[in-house]
Every structure is written in structure tokens, then in C-alpha cells.
């Protein structure tokens, strides 16, 4: 616990803010229409009109990255907040009450985490039709165990503190104690887990889209753009650099921010 925000948190905040700003800006403005294919402008190297060059269909990379960021971040936000909500509810409950339910749920969580995440996601995507919704559901389930574990262990340390007894003595019920008395104390932990979760979700979404299982064309997505750039890696390397750089910067940004928050409060 430290008094001030570290450099980490500041760099993270700037990076995240920049990526967010680009994505939000794409709602009202992109340098070129995203879906416009210009046959005379294929595989152009970066220039003033196309800062990140164009791909083999003659689409402006910058515009596609901006719009792709929107989807990537949206998917990450929805999955992470969804799984944080479900995971927290489960983790807080089993941590507070302990007992047989706790043991049972934790074994399930262990089993779920023992699977390589990508395999689990692949199973979902194989069973359900490939779409943005599928990827959201797959990632959602993938991230629940992490939040369950974190919230449960924090609950275990907090629920035996004296002030919980004070609340009980005042006549507060268990639900109120969990939500009003203990949960606010766990917010910093949750916040840092949320933000690190966002960076993981962005990576996972990129991976799945790279494998062609995530966001479907023509909707741009960073992972998909990377995959498409693969075949032109030598003729048009900028096609890979642009989405790759975005993924790195975003993931790094969220990671720094999460670490910064953790160092400050936990």
C-alpha cells in the first residue's frame, strides 16, 4: 500500500485512455470509410494519407484498427464485467459461508482452471455457432473461476474480522453483511482484478479471432487483421505491425493500470 499513484499506473492510464479515445472516436470519425475497398490502393506502405498503410483489399488500416478496437474493447468489457459479477457473487457467497458448498464449488473451479483456457473456448465455439456472441459467452465462462477464486480468498480474510461480529450484533443479516459491510472493502482487489482481466480478455479475443473463431468478417478485429496479414507478411509487413502494436499497447496499458491499482490499495 502506498500513498501515491506510481509511474506504472500513470503510463497504464495514458495508454488505456489513448486506445479508448481512438475507439470512441471511430464512432463519429474515421480517416477513410472502414469497409471501403479501393482497388488502386492495395498494399500501400504507410504514408500521410494512410498512416498505417492499406491491406491487400485496399482498406485503410488506421480506420480498421480504430473500428476494430471498438469491438475488441466492447467484447472485453462485456465478458470481464459479466464474469466479475458472476464470479464475485459465487466467490463471496462460498467464502462467507464456507462449508461443503465451498469445497464443492472450489473443486469445480479448480477443474475449470486446469483446462487450458483456449481449449475451453474452442469447445464452446465448436458447439455454438461462430459469432461475436459465442466468443462473449466462451470468454465469460473462461474468466469466472479467476474472479471466484480472488473474491473467495479476500472474503476469507475479511469475514473473520471483528467488525463483522459488530454488524451481526447490530442485527444485520448475512446478505447485508456481505454486500454492505464486507464488499466495499474488497473493491480495490476487484478493481485490479477487473483491469488485469480486461487485458487478458483482449488477448483471448485476439487469439480466438486470429484462429477465425471470434468476430466474423467483414467486421474488423485486431486478431483477425493479424491473421489476414500473415499471408502478406513479407510484401506488406505494416498490416501485421498495426494490429499487433495495438494489442501490445492495450494489453500493456491495462496491465500497468491494474498493477498500479493493486500496489496502491492492496
Amino acid at each position: 500500500m502506498s500513498r501515491r499513484w506510481g509511474l506504472e499506473a500513470k503510463i497504464g492510464a495514458v495508454l488505456v485512455a489513448a486506445v479508448m479515445a481512438l475507439s470512441v472516436l471511430s464512432l463519429v470519425y474515421t480517416p477513410h470509410p472502414v469497409y471501403e475497398m479501393v482497388s488502386g490502393a492495395r498494399d500501400l506502405a504507410p504514408s500521410l494519407t494512410h498512416p498505417f498503410g492499406t491491406d491487400s483489399f485496399g482498406r485503410d488500416q488506421l480506420s480498421r484498427i480504430m473500428v476494430g478496437g471498438r469491438y475488441t474493447i466492447l467484447v472485453a468489457l462485456v465478458t470481464v464485467f459479466g464474469s466479475a459479477l458472476i464470479g464475485s457473487a459465487i466467490g463471496l457467497t462460498i467464502g462467507y459461508f464456507s462449508g461443503a458448498l465451498d469445497t464443492a464449488v472450489m473443486r469445480l473451479v479448480d477443474a475449470l482452471s486446469a483446462f487450458p483456457g483456449i481449449l475451453l473456448a474452442l469447445i464452446f465455439v465448436a458447439v455454438l455457432p461462430a459469432s461475436s456472441l459465442t466468443i462473449v459467452i466462451a470468454l465469460l465462462i473462461l474468466f469466472i473461476p479467476g474472479f471466484t477464486r480472488i473474491m473467495r480468498s479476500s472474503m476469507l480474510t475479511w469475514r473473520n474480522l471483528d467488525f463483522v461480529n459488530t454488524a451481526l450484533v447490530m442485527g444485520a443479516g448475512h446478505f447485508r453483511i456481505i454486500t454492505r459491510h464486507i464488499f466495499p472493502n474488497l473493491l480495490p482487489v476487484l478493481l485490479s482484478a477487473l483491469i488485469i482481466g480486461l487485458s487478458n480478455a483482449i488477448l483471448a479475443e485476439a487469439t480466438l479471432s486470429f484462429l477465425g473463431l471470434g468476430i466474423q468478417p467483414p467486421t474488423p478485429s485486431w486478431g483477425r487483421m493479424l491473421a489476414e496479414a500473415q499471408s502478406h507478411l513479407f510484401s506488406a509487413p505494416w498490416c501485421a505491425v498495426a494490429p499487433g502494436l495495438m494489442i501490445i499497447l492495450t494489453v500493456l496499458g491495462f496491465h500497468f493500470l491494474g498493477e498500479g491499482i493493486r500496489k496502491r490499495y492492496c
Binding site: 459488530t166 454488524a167 447490530m170 442485527g171 444485520a172 447485508r176 459491510h181
Partner: protein, 341 residues
């Protein structure tokens, strides 16, 4: 005051608390008891003390009454009646309607007994919110009234403060304010002054006494300090190894102790006259929970124990209406005092 026709507010009978058995195969009689056959009565407006060495089951007795035994412990018999309601048979929801309202508790560590992230104002309002005072104005009025009663000055600033900004003595006052804000009939105070310095301790004791006198609030006061008990209590129960060994009015028990354990406790209080001399202490130690206890638990440490003491558990012997003792050595005939002191 001669035996007032006071109504009993809290009546605990034959309370037993044991370590929860994990294996169902283990038989009941092997249950490890931390509290055994404890009976006590708190009348309206009375302060009753429980005294005893560390680990003798004082807190567990108190927590049983509140329905807040630690997970490892369970009730293994007895009854707890508060205002004509069997607390031990009440559902959680009904218990919550009583806790914090008519029956409440104060703990030893004021520093950790308040929520670090909640402003004092909200923590003081919590019992009111939980017990049906809903308008902001009414809550404010009651909170300020309680703060006034416990002598907390500058309430406006205090309401907005967080616990870490206050001293231990102030926090204990806040705890007491939170306890009395719903005007309870009984407060259980588990070593409320142990964590405080001597001056603050005296102030808190005075405060509790004052609350007891002005509001007729009964207090079950737990302490291992006989001096404190002597100052504040009307009745006292002496506990040893999970059982009550001697009980009665403070005057009778503390000034004319009969049980060797009580005598030992009193002898080991440092006094001005004993200055310089080595402080007497009771030889031996409190038996561990799991130790097999045949006979009187104090027998191995008792200077006057005879063979019967090691074989049977003594029943309660009434020396008078105001003094009972569980000891084979006590002799009604030789007892001089039959009056309430």
C-alpha cells in the same frame, strides 16, 4: 435493597458449548466441552459480572447468548431465555430482530470492531436502519442523542470521520453509542476495557455504570479483573474451566470467597500492603479443553482438595440466597454470613 421482585431479563440454564464434531461416527459423550452446565440470570437493571482466567469460557458463554458461536463451536444443551423468548431456538431472522435492538454486545478491541471503510455516522446509524427507524431526521436525532449520552463531543466532525482517525477510548465510546442507540434492555460487554489504558478504562466503566442507572439497561460484564468487577457489578459469577464455581452478590463473593479458586484470584490482586512481597499466584494451570476432566476441574490446583474432589463434580451449594458455591469443601454450618452484603 432487599431482594427486589425484579423480573429476570436473561435466564440461561444448563448451557453447554462443545467443539463441533466433524465425524458423525464419534459418539456424543466424547464431545469436548468448553462450557458446561452454566446457568445465570440477569435481572432488569442489574450488572452481572463473569470473571475467570483466560480460556475459561467467558466469551463463549456470551457468544452463545448472542447466537454467534464460532463455526467450530456448537450448543450442546441448555436453554437461553431472553424476555420470555427462547433465543437458542429462534430462527436467524427473528434473532436479527432482537440483536442490536433489545440485546446487544460490545467487544474488547474497539480498533478492529468498527468497519475501516465506513464513516462513524453510518456505523452509528446502522442499528437504527436495521430496526425500522427509516427517516433521516429520526436517525440523526437518535444518533446525536446516543453520542451525547456517551460523552462524544463535536458530533458533526465525528460523524464524518473514519475509525482510524479516532483514539481507542473514543472508538470504545462510539461502540457503546452504537450499542445503546436502539435503547437495548441488555448489553453484553466482553472485556470492554481490556484494550484501554487505565484512565480511559475508568471513564468507560463510569459511562457503563451511568447508562445502567439512567436507562435501567442491564449489563452482562465480562472481565478477568476482579477490581473492575468489584467497581461496577451487582452480581458476579466466577468461572473455571467452563463451569461456574461460585456466584452471588459482589459483596458476598469477593469479600467472603468460599471457593479456593476465588480465594486464589483475590489473593493474586496486588495491593499496597503486599508491596515488595512476591505476588501470590495459583499454582498449576488451566486444563486444556481436551483433557479428561473427572471430578472438580480445580482439584489438581486446589490446596485443600481431598479424594472426593477428584472423583465427583460438586453440585451447587447455596450458602445463602445471595451466595452459591460449587465445592465439597464449603460447609454451610461454618459459613458466617447469611446476609446480602
Amino acid at each position: 435493597m432487599r431482594a427486589p421482585a425484579s423480573q429476570s431479563l436473561l435466564r440461561v440454564e444448563h448451557l453447554g458449548v462443545g467443539l463441533r464434531q466433524r465425524q458423525r461416527r464419534q459418539k456424543r459423550q466424547h464431545t469436548i466441552r468448553a462450557v458446561e452446565d452454566v446457568s445465570l440470570t440477569v435481572n432488569a437493571g442489574e450488572i452481572v459480572g463473569i470473571v475467570g482466567e483466560s480460556g475459561c469460557g467467558k466469551s463463549l458463554t456470551a457468544l452463545s447468548v448472542m447466537g454467534l458461536l464460532p463455526a467450530a463451536m456448537e450448543l450442546v444443551g441448555g436453554s437461553i431465555v431472553f424476555e420470555n423468548e427462547r433465543l437458542d431456538q429462534l430462527r436467524e431472522r427473528n434473532l436479527n430482530a432482537i440483536r442490536g435492538n433489545r440485546l446487544t454486545m460490545i467487544f474488547q478491541e474497539p480498533m478492529s470492531s468498527l468497519n475501516p471503510l465506513m464513516r462513524i455516522g453510518r456505523q452509528l446509524a446502522e442499528p437504527l436502519v436495521l430496526h425500522g427507524v427509516s427517516t433521516a431526521g429520526a436517525i440523526r436525532e437518535r444518533v446525536l442523542e446516543a453520542m451525547g449520552k456517551v460523552g462524544l463531543r463535536d458530533p458533526e466532525t465525528l460523524l464524518r470521520a473514519y475509525p482510524h482517525q479516532l483514539s481507542g477510548g473514543m472508538l470504545q465510546r462510539v461502540m457503546i453509542a452504537a450499542a445503546i442507540v436502539c435503547r437495548p434492555r441488555l448489553i453484553i460487554a466482553d472485556e470492554p476495557t481490556t484494550a484501554l489504558d487505565v484512565t480511559t478504562q475508568a471513564q468507560i466503566l463510569r459511562l457503563l455504570r451511568q447508562i445502567n442507572q439512567t436507562d435501567q439497561t442491564s449489563i452482562l460484564f465480562i472481565s478477568h479483573d476482579l477490581g473492575v468487577i468489584n467497581q461496577i457489578c451487582d452480581q458476579v459469577l466466577v468461572m473455571y474451566a467452563g463451569r461456574i464455581v461460585e456466584r452471588g452478590t459482589v459483596g458476598n463473593v469477593l469479600w467472603h470467597p468460599v471457593h479456593e479458586y476465588t480465594k486464589g484470584l483475590i489473593k493474586s490482586i496486588p495491593t499496597r500492603r503486599s508491596k515488595g512481597a512476591p505476588l501470590p499466584s495459583i499454582r498449576g494451570r488451566v486444563p486444556a479443553l481436551a483433557e479428561e476432566k473427572a471430578g472438580c476441574a480445580f482439584a489438581p490446583r486446589c490446596p485443600a482438595a481431598h479424594s472426593q474432589c477428584f472423583l465427583e463434580v460438586p453440585d451447587e451449594l447455596a450458602l445463602s440466597d445471595f451466595h452459591q458455591v460449587n465445592c465439597f469443601l464449603a460447609d454451610v454450618e461454618s459459613e458466617m454470613e447469611y446476609v446480602r452484603i
